[in-house]
Point group: C2
């Protein structure tokens, strides 16, 4: 397999895919405002984790880590905001 000889290329494609993957989810969430099957625990832990990756990238002055996690943080953070908003709204409805 050609990819065996190009570990860095594999890393770049991997980073691009895992970063870009949150775009269709963010678009779907913003469009439908439906967050029923999204896990609040996942998006809380994931967004905090990505924020720490960002801190790590800044400390190491690694611009690839900074850029990838900055984009993911904005996307994942937006999804988390919708989930929190819907969770609070749903709790208010129930007496």
């Amino acid at each position: 397999m050609m990819l065996t000889y190009m570990p860095d290329l594999v890393g770049y494609i991997a980073a691009a895919l895992t970063t870009a993957s949150f775009l269709p989810q963010a678009i779907l969430t913003i469009k439908t405002r439906n967050t029923e099957s999204l896990s609040l625990g996942m998006y809380s832990a994931f967004t905090l984790g990505v924020l720490l990756w960002l801190v790590y990238g800044i400390q190491k002055q690694d611009y690839a880590i900074i850029m990838a996690n900055l984009i993911t943080f904005v996307l994942s953070g937006s999804i988390l905001c919708y989930k929190i908003y819907n969770t609070i709204k749903a709790k208010k409805k129930k007496p």
Copy 2:
């Protein structure tokens, strides 16, 4: 901030959070079987991306990257399977 002096600790906590975050999502998806607000595009791109991270880790013989992405691949792959199953089922219902 104390974290400023420990970039590696920040990296480990970040990796643990972004990996573990898929556990509550996988549990929620398996329990409710509801994948309505999950994006097929996200889980397809993300699972493929994580698989490439795994290949990258194997090439670089970096066990931290291998372990983190192996766990995430199993969790994210399970969620993707449910999403694909539900998508096919929903398409069959519509004439």
